[in-house]
Symmetry: C2
Subunit: 907 residues, 2 copies
Amino acid sequence: LRTWVHCILLSPVQVANNMMDMDQDPRKRLCFADGRRKVDYVLVYHYRKRSSVRGSPSQHRLSIISNGSYPLGVEEKDQEGRKDEPAEVVVDVGPPDPADGEKIMIREEFEGNLKDAGLEIEHDKENKAHGHAFIRLHAPWQVLSREAEFLKIKVPTKKSYELREEKGLAATMNEVWRKLNQPFQPKVPHQEQEHSRTKYGAFYKYQPVDLIRKYFGEKIGLYFAWLGVYTQLLIPASVVGIIVFFYGWATVETNIPSQEMCDEDQNFTMCPLCDRACDYWHLSTACGTARASHLFDNPATVFFAIFMSLWAAMFLEHWKRRQISLNYSWDLTGMEEEEEHPRPKYETILLQKRQRKKKNTKNKNEQIKRQLKHIHAYILTLFTLNVFLPSQTGHEKLTWRDRLPGYLINISSILFMFGVTCSAVFSVIIYRITISALMAMSSDPEVKSNVRVTVTATAVIINLVVILILDEIYGMVAAWLTELEIPKTETNFEERLILKAFLLKFMNAYAPIFYVAFFKGRFAGRPGDYVYVFNDYRMEECAPGGCLIELCIQLSIIMLGKQLIQNNVFEIGIPKLKKLCRTLKDKERAPKEIVEQPGRRQQWHLDYDLEPFDGLTPEYMEMIIQFGFVSLFVASFPLAPLFALLNNVIEIRLDAKKFVTELRRPDAIRAKDIGIWYNILSGLGKFSVIINAFVISFTSDFIPRLVYQYMYSETGTMHGFINHTLSYFNVSNFKPGTVPSISSLGKDITFCRYKDYREPPWSTEPYQFSKQYWSVLAARLGFVILFQNLVITMSMLVAWVIPDVPKNISEKLKKEKTLLVDVFLNEEKEKLQLIQSLFSRDLTQEQQEELKVSDQTSLPLQQTQPGQLPPTSSPAPRTRPRAASFSQFTRQMSMSPRSDITQHTAV
Amino acid sequence: LRTWVHCILLSPVQVANNMMDMDQDPRKRLCFADGRRKVDYVLVYHYRKRSSVRGSPSQHRLSIISNGSYPLGVEEKDQEGRKDEPAEVVVDVGPPDPADGEKIMIREEFEGNLKDAGLEIEHDKENKAHGHAFIRLHAPWQVLSREAEFLKIKVPTKKSYELREEKGLAATMNEVWRKLNQPFQPKVPHQEQEHSRTKYGAFYKYQPVDLIRKYFGEKIGLYFAWLGVYTQLLIPASVVGIIVFFYGWATVETNIPSQEMCDEDQNFTMCPLCDRACDYWHLSTACGTARASHLFDNPATVFFAIFMSLWAAMFLEHWKRRQISLNYSWDLTGMEEEEEHPRPKYETILLQKRQRKKKNTKNKNEQIKRQLKHIHAYILTLFTLNVFLPSQTGHEKLTWRDRLPGYLINISSILFMFGVTCSAVFSVIIYRITISALMAMSSDPEVKSNVRVTVTATAVIINLVVILILDEIYGMVAAWLTELEIPKTETNFEERLILKAFLLKFMNAYAPIFYVAFFKGRFAGRPGDYVYVFNDYRMEECAPGGCLIELCIQLSIIMLGKQLIQNNVFEIGIPKLKKLCRTLKDKERAPKEIVEQPGRRQQWHLDYDLEPFDGLTPEYMEMIIQFGFVSLFVASFPLAPLFALLNNVIEIRLDAKKFVTELRRPDAIRAKDIGIWYNILSGLGKFSVIINAFVISFTSDFIPRLVYQYMYSETGTMHGFINHTLSYFNVSNFKPGTVPSISSLGKDITFCRYKDYREPPWSTEPYQFSKQYWSVLAARLGFVILFQNLVITMSMLVAWVIPDVPKNISEKLKKEKTLLVDVFLNEEKEKLQLIQSLFSRDLTQEQQEELKVSDQTSLPLQQTQPGQLPPTSSPAPRTRPRAASFSQFTRQMSMSPRSDITQHTAV
């Protein structure tokens, strides 16, 4: 049913004409054998040799599984709505089994229903032993009209009326009309056209969103439009990100803390990084990381974090506006939510429940006396259900009792998956700890010097691989779990699936990053009181430059790696592989049949070889996870928007190519918005504010620097900051066996330094947190509060200042309304004049009789209908009462005059 | 126009019938002299003796001020829409002046327009020298119908159709029908009915919201419904608040800190509270406030603050649902925003601008050569304006340039008002400081002992009076400022007015409370280094029990005082006073005329004596400010919801009484929601979260207690807490002249204590903030972050879990849709059968001819309209093209079958 929506604007006469004089046209291939009727939909099934059960369709009809409660019309519609699913199921799921007869019966029943609904069917003529049979459907004009009415698709009526009214308007209307009547882009040429657009070279061009919508339907059109808006808005974010990055790069030379760290004269002797095997070391050897840190950890990043939070708010507002514009130009403004048919799975389980209940009731009747009390409670329950669900009178539905096992499995599985993710992260930590400990113990100085680089690099790669694998697994788990919940409708199913998949994949992608940002190095303890894992391995610390540089490395590798690998392997490689497998399988199945001549292969044969369409969820999910990288930790990695931009420019074209050339054409689905994804985006935007606040205040050294400068520095400058952040440790307090075994520096050392705010050994409370620690902590927390509330307020301001409905759209809507009032008043005036002229001349006998008749029919309605005037016309039989027409007319007018009308000059 | 909406459901035939057989009915008084036509609206003006200008209306018509660009219909409507305003303006504003003639012409022009629009007019017959003239209007059925169409008021059409369909449904429909046709409640009996409801005794009953809506219109109906929901939800909040209060009351005996404070053995000698005049004192003397503090400052208040934040979220969600239910039952679901007519003020200024511009252009033409460049720029500007405002083609509008002076005055006035509020608060502080200093210096021990009580009480009362006075002033200032902004429409005006008034009144009501909560005592300095105001007076400190108890006192007095005084004085007293004044004035004016006999005074004379209606803004404002008291500082005053509840129970009935008996019946206005008030409410809800977080963590002692218990207490209990919070001061460090002059304790004292976390005199950094200070600060800030994010997340969860559309409403909407599909498909089937039967028999010559004719007319439309079938009926002249009817029909059906239909069994 869904694909026909496209064709509704194409009048059959025109198609026929096109067909007549274009015999060689490839479009001809898209018609029935008569060359006139267009193929609107193709059903495929796999068959073996026709069994003997075959007969006239009416003979073998199965009884349809029905709720028994749908009015006739709905039932018909229902059959159509589901028609593709069972057919596909028969092909894909069922292996050729001996019970083929039943399948044939189901199919014939099904085809019979299609015919009842008014569709025209064409079968294949060829009769091979087995293979794929294609049933082609044609939806005639009447069916299209009826369904268009159901979908409330608007057409520019009243054209003649406008014409009489004003010329400028009519001209515009004609223009619109011409466009609507333009020959519908046939599939093949359209495909080629798209092709040219999907080549990498076209990356700088606008997307043909309207064409996409026309061909793929609104839902996919909205996806590409959304992707376009997102990518477009990444451009300013990237530019600002680059500027921030270059600011860091330019100021690294003049930055006092990194100068002090690199200054070899300030000879800070640091405590060893591991027990026994590691020696004391000079802070100046970590000069490189300190300078690198400054690239990402400078005051500009604070500005950038604020900027990006506002950017996220702006993006959401901008998308809202774009969506409303698209809704308007795609005629979706008046679209109402359709009541969906329940999913077959739901129906099946409901049927099972009903049967079980019937059986139970029977049993109970037999034991009625013994269980009277019980039954009474049962009936009471039913009664209560009816009271609370008034619309379900006579229906039953699945209650939470039926779903309870599903929910329980859900919760436990999700908790389990969380556990899996966490243990994956923890395993990598263990890997890092052990490998670095082992490498540090190695005698090879080459190995020793590369410890950090090697360990970090391998660990991040392991992380990446784990993430990619778990990502695929979680996708499948989420689908399985959602099935267990037995959602009622497809929309419901999709929403639940998305939420679950998002939760799992988000956890999976961000768990290692969260660890580095907020936990790494915070549980390492202090010299003389380190925290040990497995009694042997010291908990890992951050690099001397701070955790921010590690966070940055982690973030960039995971983001880039995920995008590159998912784009290349999962989106290009695996589908190709799958296709290859299927082709091989098909060839195996029919090895002895004559290979069909390529000339005889129709378009539908070619299309059938393509991959089926899986829905937009994976596409959106990828982008949302990317949006997380761009917004959540942007304070630590200002280049994230740039990488996202580069990825998306490729992604758009890659997606387009995939949709056009590698997937079967998806059913077009009408949609007003991007649904739950918007909520997820807005949630991410809000979450990013608090995360960035914490990254700036806890992961970066921004706050300690500020506190030092304004509270402790004697000169008011940053000089002495490094010394201030390093606490003293008396080496005599080392636990036995942890002192460096071989030390080039250790002989004359009494104090080593470590990065923390703790009391010195000579204080009254040695190694306790110092006053500085608490003041810095207070400043950090204060900054979080300030940042969060400031940014949230600013975001709300941005959202409030940008109106949801673009000005030109609201102006257009207003103009349509003015037009309506105008038309309506003129109408009324004409009517009045007509009545007057009618009443002024003498009525003939015949007319009087007619009036009597019609008076009788319309009088009872007259009271109910303020707009009713004395009937003046039509003694002919009425197919519908005219009572409602007056107000209908206005309502119609308020909805139909589409304002591609841009010029409306006053009379 | 607005009041007629009520009458639409009343068919004129019925009114007439009622009138005929009820001659003695008071309703008769509401009719024209013929006793048949109902008075729908009354215009009043003050006149002197008829001047000689009077003639036939057509003679003296003034040229109407018009934009010259509205299509005919709109202009007519416009005239009607504004009709009451000018009439009222003529009465109220203009004092009797010699230019009466012009006024008469305006009035006649106006009346002529009313007649053109189809209204019927009745003048007074009496001809006094001067007095009030009443013009009564009657809106005939046609006018009502037309306007009903514009407003898209739905009526249950298709009744006959449903009848044929199913019996159960039809019965329900009939029921609905019967109700709708019930004789419309006439004004007087209705009023009496309301009366009985507005007596204080009826406070426990539900409000008759539907009746209110019927009589006052949707906007006022929504106000009362909102007030009802708010009051209802205050009940659980009050209950929990009382429980929390009693929890504090019950635990006060076992509370260790207050025990320690009252313990006279723990002899804490406190530093004096003022310089020289005050003595050292023992902490145990402040035992009373410590115990009182505990009532409001205990762990239960933290729970209560969280509870109230969730309560606010719940309230907003609940109201959303109620609003949607009301929208549904009041038929507002499909209501669209009307394009409003600009305010007269706006039009006037626009006209002035246009005239000025014309003059300018003329001048320029004269100096064309010299100013060519300038004009070019001018035209370019105009062009640009047209491009950016495509809908305003040919229109001009006021740009920001025209409004700039207004905006500037606005901003500066608002800043000035802020200054006024702040200085009011500051004056009261100065009052408190000076008075307490003076009283402390008094020699009378009686005076000395009552310092705090006297000062606090008087200061709060001064605060309250200032608030009440400024409240009235700010209301007027806001209205004046909004006029200066020249908003285009009435809605626009109202929104801006509300925002400004809210801002000013909110500041006004809360500034003193904010001061006590967050600033009082924080700038007082420390012993030996006090902060002085005017070089002489020490900045005030909080009471020894903490600032929370003072906050609580301040809050309760302002809240209660404001409510009591506003309810009694402003809402009852002042209107009565005003009425009295007016009556006296009127009597003065016409002292020599014969007093009219009471029997001859018509209803409209009585009604004219009532106060005019000022809009709902003051009512809402009062409630919103109250909502602020309930939500913002609820952590410090758990009884606020209870006081609010008590106030509201009275307020509802008081408002109802006022609306029914003391105000002229307001114009009914359709409204879907409570507008900007919802946004203000939701903003207050969000703001309250952060305010409560700060109150708990900074104003109360909750966090210091926690920190002491878990970080510093050696026993893990609260013992020693008081000692921990008091710092030491060496009395030898007092500045000269600040030592207590006469001291009973001072002889053997070396250290006095004060409440702060500072290093003791013997530390290396005496009197600096101690480590405890910073750790407590960090804990406080951490708590704010935790509380804010936790509560916001929970509120979002609450909002997400509660669906916006109540289940029964969405079920009903779905059912209506099912009905539509059903009806539509049957319709189509019948039509098909009809066509078949028509085509199967031979057509007569005449019919064939008819078909040809109608084919010609409908063919071009047929292509545009998918649902069109060959015309089968009506050769009679068509007043409107039938092309759109098919889809209109469905659209109509989707909107009209109102589902007071609750039973729809399947066929």
